[in-house]
């Protein structure tokens, strides 16, 4: 007999459990990464993941988990196993990006040259 305050719990006849139940590895399916688009024209941004047996159900779970409030116009899901990423240890390969001023508008000082020219031709 249960004596829960919840009549639904009392109807479950919980005492029949013998304690031997175990969830099997893999029983909670695969992992899918979820990407959320807030409005038309915006990028899809990674927001988290869901467990699902396949991509179409992952999309339904993603809607419940990441699209149930605030703005959302679209969601993507992709298997976590299909994501290819650089090793975090290799992050030094991006280290000199800020030094490449020749790839940046700020690396070209045209006003200095114009002012110098104007000063010379006065």
């Amino acid at each position: 007999m249960n004596d829960s305050l919840d009549p639904r719990v009392n109807r479950l006849r919980l005492d029949k459990n013998d304690g031997s139940f175990k969830v099997e590895e893999g029983e909670n399916w695969n992992v899918f990464e979820v990407f959320h688009q807030e409005k038309r024209g915006a990028h899809h941004e990674h927001v988290g993941c869901v467990h699902a047996p396949d991509a179409s159900l992952a999309l339904i779970f993603a809607k419940e988990q990441f699209g149930r409030r605030k703005k959302c116009v679209n969601l993507w899901v992709v298997r976590s196993a299909d994501i290819l990423a650089f090793d975090l240890e290799d992050e030094d390969m991006f280290a000199n990006n800020p030094d490449k001023t020749y790839r940046d508008a700020s690396g070209f000082k045209v006003m200095e040259k114009i002012n110098k020219f104007k000063a010379q031709t006065k």
Partner: protein, 334 residues
Amino acid sequence: MYGGGYIFDEPNRKQQREEQLHDDPVKLAAFEARIARGEKIEPGDWMPVEYRRQLIRLIEQHAHSEIIGALPEGTWITRAPGFKRKLALIAKVQDEVGHGQLLYNAAETLGKSREAMINDLLSGKSKYSNVFNYPAETWADVTVIGFLIDAAAIVNQVANSKGSYGPYCRALERICYEESFHLKQGHDAFIELATGTPAQKAMLQDALNRWWQPIMHFFGPPDKTSSHSEKLMQWKVKMASNDDMRNQFLDAYVPKIWELGLTLPDPLLKKNADTGKWEYSDPDWDLFFEVIKGNGPCNKERLDVRKWAEENGRWIRKALMREDEMERSALPVA
């Protein structure tokens, strides 16, 4: 909601500490320097064995707390007073279960499978926040949980969201946003009873009296008795001490209770004008540990219900399973 400052640890962790001694000192120094600079640690990064173990323990127990925490409130969905309260309660309970999913995912990035976490919950090896071992006897209990337990959890979660582990911080950011709705709807329902009929006020006061001790337990034992915090603070796993979080909670919420003409069952509770700190009677810590051990009023029911759900949900999980998909199993990447 539902972190809870106190995270249960098994008493004898000597073997693990031995392993920790074998962490590569150069990598350890780089790891600690990264945290000191305020940078986040990501799943693929090298991390000390003990850091990984403590984070799994913390995030997993946080996840279990969300799932178990939905049970005492879920009980009241069928009996919520009115359509608006019912809608809000359904939304809140769904959020809590969603938070559980977000947190399980964050813990999975550290290498423990969701199935292993669920099994550890069902076997009693892994714990959840102690407050959910108490029953929600009346609707007033639901308003106390929604207002004050959520408020306490927010104090804890806002602190943790500034921690060092990227996936946990990202999950908490989303969780804290949703918690602000939980707190507000809880406060609203709480005020409605506090300013209602004499019977409503009495029901709320009774619930408050019963929940005050579990709320004082929520942030865990006093700092003077808790061990192994220093390293966890340096690694930004633990972000604030139990007493500091309790004080922060009392400072923000006791005035909000008193202003409604309600009382709290602690004659010593007051703010010390000189120190700015709250003073209170020590809650019964023996009882706290007794409930963690499994001897609270609802421990058995909570786990039995979880076990029932896992056992009776198995057929549909299996029916949906696609063998060709299973070969590609992987952990979440972020």
